[in-house]
């Protein structure tokens, strides 16, 4: 059997470091020893395929049993590709977020803001043949955290992606354009490359916006691509 094609190694500036001093929770949790670089084997290039029969999709976070959540309804849509622009088809995308008041449906979140019985804050999507996904939600609220004095997280939606190989597994956060908290946020800012940071900010999109119903935001996601690709046969 030929060796599997490895994934590209990222430019370190385009990914956050483990040791991010401005983000206090990294202090005791980042590895101090050098990571061991592992050549990609089948262990890294293969990955789980999620059959919607076992993992049913849930594309509308804006209601529970037909009862609408409080807040500003939004549509989020985008495309999942690899670094060469090839679509990831049938990829499972997991999404979770705080409610419109900035509170998570989570027992440990004690922020003094109301829970919404009609907002659970999770979705599960599968990309189509072109790598596209879409879901309906409520614009999340900002919330305070104890990282530093008067610290607030910019509004964001968490995304979890599964690619074709386990080395493509990735969790990230989508932000919203024009959020005044972005320049102050150590999580957003610890990635060195400005362009890489700004790709985490969704764009308002009138084509995704549905008249009389909800604003639309676009968030495209890129997973690692192959470090080498087979020649395409000439016609």
């Amino acid at each position: 059997m030929p060796d599997p094609i490895p994934f590209r190694r990222p430019d370190p500036a385009t990914q956050p470091p483990y040791d991010a001093p401005e983000y206090g929770s990294t202090h005791k949790r980042h590895p101090k020893q050098k990571l061991v670089v592992v050549p990609h084997t089948l262990t890294e290039t293969s990955g789980p395929r999620f059959d919607p029969a076992f993992y049913p999709p849930q594309v509308d976070m804006s209601q529970v049993n037909g009862r609408a959540a409080m807040g500003e309804r939004i549509i989020v849509a985008g495309r999942v590709t690899d670094e060469d622009g090839r679509p990831l088809r049938g990829a499972m995308v997991e999404v979770w977020q705080a409610n419109s008041s900035g509170r998570y449906h989570h027992p440990r979140d004690q922020h003094d803001a109301p829970l919404d019985p009609n907002f659970e804050g999770r979705a599960r999507l599968f990309t189509d043949a072109e790598g596209n996904y879409s879901f309906v939600s409520i614009k999340p609220g900002a919330y305070p955290w104890r990282n530093h004095a008067n610290a607030w997280r910019p509004i964001h939606i968490h995304f979890g992606l599964h690619g074709a190989g386990f080395a493509q597994r990735m969790i990230t956060q989508m932000y919203f354009p024009g959020d005044p908290l972005l320049p102050l946020d150590p999580v957003f800012n610890c990635t060195a490359d400005e362009a890489a940071r700004n790709r985490l900010v969704s764009t308002f999109d009138l084509d995704i916006t549905r008249p009389e119903w909800a604003l639309g935001y676009r968030f495209d996601i890129v997973l690692r691509g192959p470090a080498a690709t087979p020649f395409e046969n000439a016609p």
């Binding site: 059997m1 060796d3 590209r8 990222p10 385009t14 990914q15 956050p16 470091p17 483990y18 929770s25 990294t26 202090h27 005791k28 949790r29 980042h30 590895p31 101090k32 020893q33 990571l35 061991v36 670089v37 592992v38 990609h40 084997t41 089948l42 262990t43 890294e44 293969s46 990955g47 789980p48 059959d51 076992f54 670094e83 060469d84 979770w96 998570y104 449906h105 440990r108 659970e120 999770r122 968490h158 979890g160 080395a167 990735m170 969790i171 990230t172 610890c190 990635t191 890489a196 790709r199 985490l200 996601i221 890129v222 690692r224 691509g225 470090a227 080498a228 690709t229 087979p230 020649f231």
Partner: protein, 187 residues
């Protein structure tokens, strides 16, 4: 034939921390890869429990970790006949626990063989990107020639070897930082 593409036309999206409140995507049954009605119901093999405690640089339990595993089936094949993915939330003691089948040996690069192993990844508050390690099985003859174990300083190799606790339970504690820090892999 291949052509090298060293720089990415569109760089991969930056990772961001899963944060402390990720449990809306915790489905506790996913920690049991053999669950009735699940993708592996009825697959034959050696049933095992993989468990361990995750601690930080102060030795404090990491109580909010999202732990995922990825492994081959008992025949050493990925994805064919065995869905080798699981997810588990660490508990208030920092402990994770998976029920699965012991994987077989897996092809390595060239003619190499990899000893049976399970990839263990951790996402958590304070981890801007997940950490990746492997759980190998103590007393496995193939460990001595495993190409990944052999990349690791022999003095630290034990941090990748799960130990038997009887009854099919294998334990691998994970120390994110400090004394006996787990060997994490750059994959």
């Amino acid at each position: 034939m291949t052509r090298a593409l060293m720089t990415a036309p569109i760089p991969a999206t930056a990772s961001q921390t899963a944060g402390p409140y990720w449990h809306m995507i915790d489905f506790p049954e996913w920690a049991d890869l053999l669950r009735p009605g699940g993708p592996n119901a009825g697959v034959a093999g050696e049933r095992i429990t993989l468990t361990g405690r995750i601690t930080d640089g102060d030795g404090a339990p990491c109580v909010d970790a999202l732990v995922e595993i990825w492994q081959a089936g008992p025949d050493g094949a990925y994805g064919a006949g065995f869905h080798g993915f699981g997810r588990c939330a660490s508990n208030e003691d920092g402990v994770f626990r998976f029920t699965t089948l012991k994987p077989g040996a897996v092809p390595g690069l060239g003619n190499a063989t990899q000893a049976p192993h399970i990839v263990v990844t951790i996402f958590a508050r304070g981890l801007m990107k997940h950490v990746v390690t492997r759980a190998y099985f103590a007393n496995e003859a193939l460990n001595a020639a495993d190409p990944v174990l052999n990349l690791v300083d022999p003095a630290r190799r034990s941090t990748l070897i799960a130990q038997p606790e009887g009854g099919g339970t294998w334990r691998l504690d994970i120390r994110l930082q400090g004394e006996n820090e787990t060997v994490f892999l750059d994959v």
